[in-house]
């Protein structure tokens, strides 16, 4: 046993798979412990990109630092693109009749001043589409403040008189240290369309998927193993009956079965574990078939015959004389079952037949809502890429582990 384990961990494929798997598992177990809270809480008001969010009100109260940085240059670089400049030139030449060479394109500061001086939304802009007009309006409002370096006055409203009372002044070289701000929240992977923290939800979802995958895998493997052992060892009528049933299930695509069963179970009853059971109950057929064929080749071995002659009971023969020989194979089958169960859940939830959204986070549900909210179209990668990656990594690691095991245990592949 020890030797076998050693061998297994010498297989590079298994080790890579194992490391990835442990990483995913660790994340699913540890992250919720480190960052407790309801993963389904709608914190943000919609889908926000990853980043650290700090309270604007708090920045006003926080300690101020004076830094001598060229704020105008930074802003100019960040807020004006070459396209904007081209657009400005186009507008000025077309609707103001200014010659191109008179426009100070080279100097950004000059350019902004020039634009602010000459742009007027009321000018008749014939041939300009409404969208372009709106674009220029947005551009102009950005340009109007871009060079602004006057102090900003913070005022509060007196509840009695309604008058504004100056409470603070902020100048343009005032900075604050992000660490000083009490109210902040870091969304490593942003928020989803309901405003839920994607990372938190994702770790919970990975945990749920693994649990459910394990349940479904164990169920499928147990059924497959039991039927395969019986059918292979006993042969005859029992074999015929079991194979008949197995063939029936093989012919009907299991995913169709899963859809039909899930559809007939009401959503309130359709928790994650029930989905796991449904998947487990529909995906045991190939395990049965392959276990059966292994058992058939084993049942006429000498030690089995010897055991039979010694009058050992059927369960004892199966458990002691046959099972150990296919144990490694069964473990591999279990791993594959888990990985396909995780995929099946994701598919099911994508179709809206998974568990209910408000109760639990699953990978499939997260994908479902990312698609519904058209995250790919809007370029909100954080709402779907991490989920796809997680699914891919889990199934990839499981399959890698499976191949690694295969390399160790399959005599034909052994180096």
């Amino acid at each position: 046993m020890k030797n076998q384990l050693k061998q297994v961990f010498h297989s590079p494929r298994f080790v890579i798979g194992f490391v990835i798997f442990v990483f995913m598992l660790g994340m699913a177990v540890l992250y919720p412990l480190l960052v407790p809270g309801d993963p389904l809480e709608m914190v943000a008001s919609s889908s926000y990109p990853p980043g650290t969010y700090i309270s604007l009100a708090d920045t006003l109260e926080s300690k101020q630092y004076g830094l001598d940085l060229d704020i105008t240059a930074t802003r100019l670089n960040k807020l004006i693109s070459q396209e904007d400049k081209d657009a400005m030139v186009l507008w000025l030449t077309k609707y103001r009749g200014i010659a191109e060479e008179d426009i100070p394109v080279e100097d950004s500061v000059e350019m902004v001043h020039f634009w602010n001086e000459h742009y007027d939304p009321e000018v008749e802009q014939k041939g300009l589409t409404n969208a372009k007009r709106q674009y220029y309006r947005r551009l102009a409002s950005r340009m109007a403040t871009i060079l602004e370096t006057k102090d900003i006055i913070i005022a509060t409203k007196n509840p009695e008189t309604g008058a504004l009372e100056e409470s603070n002044t902020i100048s343009f070289n005032t900075y604050t240290n992000v660490k000083d701000i009490a109210s902040r929240r870091n969304f490593v992977l942003g928020t989803d369309n309901f405003g839920r923290d994607v990372l938190k939800e994702l770790t919970h979802a990975v945990g749920t998927s693994l649990k459910m995958g394990l349940l479904a895998g164990v169920i499928a493997t147990l059924i497959g193993l039991t039927l395969g052992l019986l059918s292979g060892y006993l042969g005859g009528l029992v074999d015929d009956i079991i194979m008949f049933v197995t063939n029936l299930f093989t012919v009907i695509p299991s995913f169709v079965l899963i859809i039909l069963i899930s559809f007939s179970v009401s959503q309130s009853a359709r928790g994650v574990m029930l989905v796991g059971v449904i998947i487990g109950l529909t995906s045991w057929t190939w395990t049965t078939r392959s276990v059966r064929s292994q058992v058939i080749s084993l049942r006429n071995r000498d030690h089995v015959n010897l055991s039979k002659l010694s009058g050992h009971s059927l369960p004892r023969i199966i458990v002691q004389d046959i099972l150990p020989y296919i144990a490694s194979y069964v473990v591999m089958a279990l791993i594959l079952q888990i990985s396909s169960a995780i995929l099946a859940e994701a598919q099911l939830s994508m179709l809206g037949l998974g568990p209910s959204t408000t109760k639990v986070a699953t990978l499939g549900l997260m994908m479902n809502w990312a698609m519904t909210a058209q995250a790919p179209l809007a370029g909100r990668w954080w709402a779907f890429l991490p989920i796809i990656l997680s699914i891919a990594l889990i199934t990839f690691s499981l399959n890698l582990m499976n191949t690694g095991l295969d390399q160790v245990f399959n005599p034909q592949l052994r180096d």
Partner: protein
């Protein structure tokens, strides 16, 4: 050998990646204005599943519009029209057209939609509604007038009006349209029969509409006659007689006749349609030049049939759709990053919201018959989350426009006294308030499972709306999350639309989502009626209102009084009282305000769409509905 295999594998992967990247790359090349006869070669053959014709325009497309005889392999080019003569739509047609018959019970036809703002591209109504000012504008009719007792309405028709076959459109056609609806008991007749007694032609261009009278000699409801003249498509007498002859006057056959050979009076005619796209062609002989001064600008109106919302939105962002009637969660982002996409209003809420998608309670279900339970659910819901997460900020919030029975337009808000409603309104996300309300009513969790009970029955409900209605699905999830907080189990259920319609209109639901009446000549009265009138109780296949069968005698009384009241102060009083009843009893509660039609435009090819403050008074109804059709006469090609 192994090496060769590995190299081959790497090569294959490389090819795959490159082709993926190539397929993803933005094709932002300026669209050709001149038609090309061969599909441009930047498109790979397997990409052909979107039957868009921006790349496969065919200048030689036959003009006869006789598409039925086309060979199958021609379908992709048949019906193709030059891009710069075609206005593309989305969000109005989701399957192949099934009939051209205004009497058909289940029309799936882009051109036929006779709501308050009727779609008048093929069939026309006598008047068209403008939701911006609440007025009716002339179309086939020139003017209408009530007699002093408000029992008879006289409508004059435009003498220039004629049918697509060239014959004049007369008062006889109008009268016969009503006759036909009556004879075959179409839904138009069923909806209007309690109010309209007869439609008579007094001369070639004059129609008199007589109300059904009550015992005291007054009309049952003059408002419904107003809506009749703006919602009823006029059919040609000669053509209807022809259809009657071929169906032997059989009512079912008449209502199910597809009328492929129809005659209509509108500016467009059918040109091409299959399960991929629908194209209408302009009738250059359209009578309306007498009314509008010129023909509508686009020669063709086309609507590709998209698989779902994302597909349609993708096409819209690519500039393959000019006018989008689809809900687009990301419109604000799209606008900020594009210089071709625009909306009716520059900033949030981008559109004019006139209706309120509402959660209706089935008040006969145990628990939901208690107003405390209904109100607690309504109080706990986070409406701001719905506005931002489900609607993408495309509507005013309930803090900006506090709830009543009115939509958020200024005109309607002026008809209710917001001050008097303050104590009845709720802001939402009031978990503690909702819990207290339930606790005080003795509705508590007795068996410790976290779910409250009423008389031993667990408060567990199913909240449903059709699958794939993204913003509605998301809204109901937010409702379900609120239920969880206050100990009421709410499960969402999103069946296929047809299954949903069946259960929803037949009172077979617990909590269901559906809109209220939007803007129209009869609003807000029609909306209040739909919210609370007991006349709908017991009605099956009920599409009209009070789906949850709520009953309140005082509300019924007020709904009866309003149509006869002309004093604005009195009306305001009535509507305020109705709002109080509605907010106190919560037979249903609105989840958000919403436009009736979305009107997002991509000005890649066409420009000149109506915008707020452009002084043209054209409503954002997709250039097709009600007075919004006027937009078609102002469009221009982008230079």
């Amino acid at each position: 050998m192994m090496k060769a295999k590995k190299v081959l594998a790497m090569l294959l992967v490389l090819v795959l990646v490159v082709s993926c990247l190539a397929a993803c790359s933005k094709k932002e090349k300026p669209k050709e204005d001149t038609p090309v006869t061969t599909p441009s070669d930047d498109k790979e053959p397997e990409d052909d599943k979107t039957p868009d014709d921006t790349n496969g325009e065919d200048a030689n497309a036959p003009d006869d519009g006789d598409s039925e005889e086309k060979e199958p392999e021609e379908t992709n080019t048949a019906g193709s029209t030059p891009r710069n003569e075609t206005l593309y739509f989305n969000g109005q047609q989701w399957n192949a057209i099934n009939a051209w018959n205004p009497m058909h019970a289940n029309n799936n036809n882009w051109s036929i939609s006779n709501g308050a703002s009727a779609r008048v591209i093929i069939y026309e109504t006598m008047f068209i509604y403008n939701l911006l000012d609440g007025q009716l504008y002339p179309l086939l009719g020139t003017d209408y007038a009530w007699n002093d007792a408000r029992t008879e309405m006289t409508v004059h028709l435009n003498p220039a009006a004629h049918w697509s076959d060239g014959t004049p459109l007369t008062a006889d056609d109008v009268a016969y349209t009503w006759e036909t609806h009556k004879k075959y008991e179409s839904s138009t007749y069923n909806n209007n029969a309690p109010y309209i007694d007869a439609v008579e032609a007094t001369d070639a261009n004059t129609v008199v509409i007589k109300s059904v009278l009550q015992d005291d000699g007054t009309a049952v409801n003059p408002l419904m006659v107003d809506s009749f003249i703006a919602q009823t498509y006029i059919m040609q007498k000669a053509y209807v007689e022809k259809v009657e002859a071929r169906n032997n006057n059989d009512a079912t056959a008449m209502k199910e006749d597809t009328m492929e050979d129809f005659v209509a009076s509108g500016p467009y005619m059918k040109y091409y349609n299959d399960d991929q796209k629908v194209v209408f062609i302009r009738d250059d002989n359209y009578w309306g030049t007498a009314l509008w001064g010129n023909l509508p600008v686009p020669k063709y109106l086309a609507h590709n049939i998209f698989a779902d919302n994302p597909a349609g939105n993708q096409a819209f962002s690519n500039g393959e759709v000019d006018v989008s009637q689809q809900f687009n969660l990301n419109i604000a982002d799209m606008m900020a990053n594009s210089d071709t996409i625009s909306t009716y209003i520059d900033e949030a809420p981008y559109n004019i919201c006139v209706t309120m998608p509402t959660a209706w309670f089935n008040v006969e279900k145990p628990g939901l018959d208690r107003k405390e339970v209904r109100k607690a659910i309504a109080m706990a819901v986070d409406y701001d989350q719905i506005v931002s997460a489900a609607m993408g900020g495309q509507c005013p919030s309930f803090t900006q426009v506090p709830r009543s029975v009115m939509n958020p337009t200024e005109g309607e808000q002026a008809m209710v006294d917001q001050e008097a409603l303050k104590s009845y309104q709720w802001a939402g996300r009031d978990i503690e308030g909702a819990k207290k309300l339930l606790d005080d009513a003795g509705i508590v969790d007795t068996d410790g499972d976290g779910i409250r009970e009423v008389d031993g029955v667990k408060l567990s409900y199913q909240a449903s709306c059709p699958q794939g209605w993204d913003d509605w699905n998301a809204s109901l999830e937010i409702v379900a999350a609120a239920g969880k907080e206050i100990g009421i189990e709410i499960e969402t259920y999103f069946p296929e639309a047809s299954t949903y319609y069946d259960m929803f209109t037949n009172h077979d639901f617990e909590i269901a989502m559906w809109g209220t009446v939007g803007a129209g000549i009869t609003s807000p009265w029609a909306r209040v009626r739909g919210m609370m009138s007991s006349e709908f109780i017991g009605m099956m296949s009920n599409w009209n209102g009070n789906y949850g069968w709520y009953k309140n005698d005082r509300a019924d009384e007020l709904i009866q009084l309003i149509p006869f009241e002309t004093d604005q102060a009195k009306l305001k009083e009535y509507y305020t009282e109705l709002s109080q009843i509605y907010l106190d009893e919560v037979p249903s509660f609105s989840l958000m305000y919403r436009p009736e039609l979305f009107h997002n435009t991509n000005e890649t090819v066409w420009t000149g769409f109506p915008t707020q403050g452009d002084g043209r008074n054209i409503p954002p109804t997709d250039c097709t509905d009600g007075y919004g059709i006027a937009a078609l006469y102002y469009l221009e090609l982008v230079e």
